[in-house]
Point group: D2
Chain length 360, copies 4
C-alpha cells in the first residue's frame, strides 16, 4: 500500500510513518515527489490490511493510505509519477534525450573494440556496449573474453568518455563487472534469475533489464521490482522481442510494450532491434520505429567487419551502417519527442485492464 | 519460374512465350517493367522443369529463365521489382504518400456514419472505413447492418469524396459489396478462406488483405498470391497483430513485418493499431510507429462517441483524438518518408533466410 | 439465459414458455434432459434482463431462470448436462466407444482410395476420411479431385459400410458434399468462416469442427455455437494442434483441451495427431495419448504408399502402421475408458477461471 | 564429432584417442556402449575439422570418425544409444518403471511435509518433492523456508525412504542443497542460467532439468548438454508446459515433446501436469496422458489441504486425489509400457527435420 503525505509534510512526520511501518515488520520506501512524498509499504501484509490502513491513516501528516492491487509497486507510476532519469558519466537516460547504445556483440580483441568504440562515439553513440561474459545456447560456443574483456571495455570508456554497459550472468560476477562497467545488463535468459536480480539490486550501478523472450510485460516489471526493492532505483528496461510462431524474424519486437511500460511505470525503456530481428537490414527501420513509439533509446550491435564476428554475425551493423542509422534516427527522435507525454499517449485518464491508474 | 525477356523484346516475342506456356498447360502472367518484361509461369511444373527451361530459353526474345524457390511468385519482388501503386477515386496507395483509413468499426446508422465521415474527411483521412457485414466471435452479437450499411457507405462516399472500404465475409457477398464499396476488405479470420480469396480475385476492385492473427508472413503472402493469380493485382496488405502469450494487449503488432513484406513483395502495406492493441490510448503511438517503419498507411477505428459503440468500444478513437493523431502523424510521415528505399531498409543486397533475393 | 422447467412439466407449459420467448423477439432452444427440460433463450437481451427473468419466472411450470455469463450457451454443459451421442450409419460417436477415423489426406484415385478403405475397415476403423476439396496454402498446389473425389468416397462407403467424412470449404459446396458424405468437416483455416458455419448448421449431417490453429478453446466453442444455434446439434470437435514457437513439430497438440472441452461442453472431441505433429513416427504415441486423456476418438491419415502421396507425405501412416496403431490403441482405450467421468476428471464440483459451472 | 572404436578396442587404443584429442586442446567424453565405445570430441573445432578427422581416423582401434551436425552431442542418441538409467536410493528412473514424484509445492512446516510424505509414500510415490527455495514472480510473495525446509526434507526422506528432490535457484545454494537432497531440480525460469547449469554439472547428484516455458526442445537439450558436459551424466528432463496464446490453462503441456526427446536423446523424461495446467482437475487426465505417450514418470504437487497452501493452491491435489491418481495411472503405465520402444514410436529408421539419426 502507499501512504500519501500531505503537501508540506515535514521530516518528523515522514519519519513517524516510516517508524510505524518498520514496527509492523514491513519495509518503507520513500519517494519524495515534486509536490508531495509517498511512502510505499512493502512486505507480507495479508489480513492485517484494514487495521494497518487505520493505524497509518491516523498518523500526523498522512493525507491518505491507498491499497494497491497491482503486483508491482515501487516500479509503478502510482508510487512515482515522474519519469526516472538516470545519469551515468555524461549520459542521461530517460529525460527525453536519445540514448544510443552501440558496440559489438562480443568484445573479441582490444583492436576490434577500440575501432568500434571510436567510430560509434564519433557518430554520436551515448553508451558503449560489448559482451565480456556471453550467455550462449551451446556450451561449446565462444563464451566471451571474461575479465580481459571487462578491462578492454574500461579502457575504451577512458578513450571515448562513453559509459560502458556489459552483461553480468551470475551473482559471483556482480562485483567484478560493477568494478569495470558503468551499467550492468541482465540478459533475456536471466530475467527471472532472482538471486542475480537481488544482487544487482545492491550495487551502485544502473541496471538494464532485458525482457525475457517468453515473459509477459507484467513479469518483466515484477523482475524490475526485485531490483528496485533490493535498493537500486536505477533500472532501464529493454524490449528485445518475444517468441512467437513467426519464423522469418528471430523474435517479434513488441513495440506496443514501449508506450505500455511508459504508462505503467516510471522507468526508462530502450529497444534492441538487433536481437529482436536477427537480420541486419531490419535493424534500421525498427530502431526508428522504436523511437517513434516513444522509446528512450536504442541498443544496436555494431562490428567493424560483421562477417568475421565470433557471434551474431547476421545482425551486427558495420560502421557505415551505424553512421547511416544515426543520421536517420536523430531527426526522427527530435521530431516525435514533442508528441509524447500528451494524454492520448500516456493515457492518464484511461484505464488498463478495466482498472486504470488512480493518480494521486 | 520466371522468363526474363531481353530489353526491347517485341510483342510477337512476348506472345510466342505466352503461347508456349499455355501449350504446356500452364498459365503465363506478364509484368511489363520499366526496362524489361518478365513472364511468370504458374501451375504444376514438377519434373518437367529442366525440359521446360530448355524449351522456353530457346524462344526468340528470351534472355533467361529462372526457377524460383519461393512459394509466392506473382507477389514477389523478383517478378515485379517496382512498388505496386493503387489508385481508387482520388486516393493513391503505395506511392509514398500517407494513406489514412478511418471510420467506425460498424456502420450503426446514417447519422453516426455521416458524422464520422465528415469529421475524418475534414481531418485528412484518405479512405473511409466502416463495417456493414461484421464477423463476430459470438453468433448472438450485433452482426452489422448488412446491405443497408453498404448503402450508407456509398452515400458517405458521395458526400465526402473518400473511397470506401468495407469487409466482405463470404463469396455470395462479393458482388453486392463490390457494387457499393471501392475497396474490399478480407478480415483476419478469412485470410485462408480460399474460395473467398479467389472470388475477390475476379472483381475490379482493390482488395485489402488482413494478416491472419495466427498466420506467418509467408502464409499471408501466399493468400495474396491466391488473389493476384485469380486476376486481381491490386492487393493491399494489412498487418493487424498476431497472437502471442502477452495479455495486456489484444494482439502483438508485428511491426517488423512491414519492412519485411516491403522487401519480399511489391504490394503496399498498412498497419491497423486499433485491432492489434485493443486499447484506444495505444493507437496513436503505434500508428506513428507504423509509418516510422515504412508502412504506406494506417487504418484506425473512429467513432463520434466510442462509449456508445455497438462493437469495439474500447479501441475506437473519438473525433478529437483522430484529429490529434492526424496532426501528429503527418509530419512524422513526411519526415521518415525520405529515409526509406535506401539499401539498409530495402535490403537490396542483403538476403533473407540465407537465400536472398536475386534481382534481375 | 436458461429457463429450467419443473420435473414433470407438460407440453403446454413448455409451449407457453417458448411462446413468451418468441414474443420477446428472442429464440428458444429446448433440451429435454432425462429428468427435466431446459430452454435456452438466445438473442440480444441487453438491459431487458431483469424484466425478462421476472416474466419468465412467473410462467406456469417454470422452476427457475438462470442468467449465464459464459459466451457459449447451447454447447455448454449447463444447458445440456448429458454427453451428446452422434449416430451415423453404424458408427456411434461420443458414447464411450472408440471412434477411429482413417484414410488418405487426399483422394487421389479410385484405386488408392479403395485400397486404403478396405485396409482401414479391416483393421477396425469406424469412419473413412479422405479429402476431395483440399485447402492448400499455395494456389499452385494440388487442390483435390473435387466432385469426382466425392463420388469415389461414396463408392468406398458402399464397399466398406463405413460412414465417410470429408472437408467442405465454402458455402456453395455444402449441398454437394452433404449429398455424398456422411459427416462434413470444417478445416482449421475455416473455423471462423461464419457463413460456412451457418450453412453446415442447416444440413442434416453431423459436422466435425477442427480447432483453428490460432484459436483459443473459447473461440472454438463459439464457432460450434454458430453451428448448433443454426439448427444442427451434431457437432464433433477436433483438436489438431495450435501454433507455438516450437519448430520440431508442425504444431503443438494441446491435449489438455480434451478434458477441458469435456468439462465445458457436451460435444464429443477427437484428436488429430497427423496434422498436429507433421511426423509419421509421432502419430502413434500421440494417438494413444489422445485416448488416454479421454478423447472420443482419433483421426489419422493413412496412405498405401505415403512417399508417393500428393499431399502430406511426411505424416501419413502406411497400412501396416495403421494396423499396428489399432492393435496398440484399442486395449489402451478399453483400459482408460473406465477412468473417466469421475469427479477428478470431469471436475463437476470444481470451477474454471474462478466461476465454475453451476449444475442444475 | 564422434570417434567410433572398433568392437573389442582395448584400453590402450582408447587412451590413445583420448590423448590425441587432449593434445588438440579439445575434450574427450567416452561412452562405453554394450558393443563398442564411442568418444565424443567437444570444443571449438572450426576449420580444423578435415585435418582432425584424418588424424583421428588414422589412430589404432578407430573404426570411423563422424562429424555431427546437431548442436547437442553428449545428450544425443548417436553418442549414447541406450537409455540412461538413474538410480538414487531405491528409486530407478528411466528403466521402464513408473517414477512418481509427489509432494507439496512448498515445504511449509514439518507437520505439513510429514503428513504429505507419509501419505504419498504409502500410495506408491517413488520420489518426494518439496520446495525449500521458491522462485516467485513477486519479491513480496512467500519465498520458502530455505535451509530449514531442506532439513525437513532430509528428515522426511529418513522417515519414508523416498529420495528427495528440491529446487536449487543459484550457484551459491548448490552445495547446501546437494548436502540435503538426493535430486537437484532446475526450475523453468533457470533453464538457461548457465552458471547454475555448470555448477550442478559438478556435483554427484542427479539433476532434473525443467523445460523453460519459452524454450524450444533444442534449447532444452542444449541446456542439458551444459550439465552433462560439466561432468554430470545423470540428467532427468521434465516437460512442464510452454507459453502459448491459450488462457484457460496456465501453460500448454507439450506431450509431443516426450516421444520427441526419447528419439533425440537417451535421457529420461517426466511430465509435470500441475504447473502445466494450473488446475487441479486437469492433473489426473494429463498425468495419464503423459505416461501414455511414453514418459518415464510424472511429477505432481500434493498438499494435505490445498486451500490453505502458501503457494499454488489451485493446482495441488489433496491426499485422496493423489491416491486416486495412483490407482488409475499404475495400470495404464503397465499397459502402455509394452507398446513403446517399437519402431513407430522410437522412429529408429525415420529422420527428424530431414536429417535423421544415423545409429551406429
Amino acid at each position: 500500500m502507499f501512504v500519501v503525505m500531505v503537501v508540506g509534510a515535514g521530516e518528523a512526520e515522514i519519519l513517524g510513518v516510516k517508524g510505524q511501518i518498520l514496527a509492523e515488520g514491513l519495509t518503507p520506501f520513500e519517494h519524495a515527489g515534486s509536490e508531495r512524498t509517498v511512502i510505499a509499504v512493502v512486505g507480507e501484509i495479508g489480513a492485517r490490511k484494514p487495521v494497518l490502513i487505520d493505524r497509518l491513516s491516523a498518523l500526523p501528516g498522512v493525507e491518505s493510505v491507498t491499497p494497491i492491487s497491482r503486483p508491482f509497486k515501487l516500479t509503478s507510476r502510482e508510487f512515482h509519477p515522474e519519469d526516472t532519469v538516470i545519469r551515468v558519466l555524461d549520459a542521461v537516460i530517460g529525460d527525453g534525450s536519445l540514448t544510443m547504445m552501440a558496440g559489438p556483440c562480443s568484445v573479441e580483441s582490444r583492436d576490434q573494440l577500440f575501432e568500434t568504440a571510436d567510430a560509434v562515439a564519433a557518430a554520436g553513440a551515448t553508451v558503449l556496449r560489448g559482451g565480456a561474459f556471453k550467455p550462449r545456447t551451446s556450451p561449446y560456443a565462444f563464451q566471451g573474453l571474461g575479465v580481459q574483456g571487462l578491462r578492454f571495455l574500461a579502457e575504451a570508456r577512458d578513450r571515448t568518455g562513453l559509459p560502458v554497459i556489459t552483461e553480468v550472468m551470475e551473482p559471483n560476477q556482480v562485483d567484478i563487472v560493477a568494478e569495470y562497467a558503468d551499467i550492468l545488463q541482465i540478459g533475456t535468459r536471466n530475467m527471472q534469475n532472482y538471486s542475480l536480480l537481488r544482487d544487482v539490486g545492491r550495487v551502485a550501478r544502473p541496471v538494464m533489464l532485458k525482457r525475457g523472450y517468453g515473459a509477459t510485460v507484467e513479469e518483466w516489471l515484477m523482475a524490475a521490482e526485485y531490483i528496485v526493492s533490493s535498493g537500486n532505483p536505477n533500472v532501464i528496461l529493454c524490449e528485445r522481442g518475444i517468441r512467437t510462431f513467426e519464423t522469418y524474424t528471430r523474435n517479434t519486437l513488441d513495440l506496443a510494450a514501449v508506450p505500455l511500460v511508459h504508462h505503467l511505470t516510471h522507468l526508462p525503456v530502450v529497444v534492441d532491434p538487433s536481437h529482436a530481428t536477427g537480420k541486419r537490414w531490419l535493424v534500421k527501420p525498427l530502431a526508428i520505429g522504436g523511437v517513434a513509439v516513444g522509446a528512450d533509446g536504442v541498443m544496436v550491435e555494431v562490428h567493424p567487419r560483421p562477417d568475421e564476428a565470433l557471434s551474431d554475425a547476421e545482425q551486427q551493423l558495420d560502421l557505415d551502417q551505424f553512421r547511416e542509422l544515426m543520421a536517420a534516427i536523430v531527426p526522427v527522435h527530435e521530431h516525435v519527442r514533442s508528441l509524447h507525454g500528451d494524454p492520448l499517449v500516456s493515457g492518464a485518464a484511461l484505464g488498463i485492464g478495466g482498472g486504470g491508474l488512480a493518480k494521486h
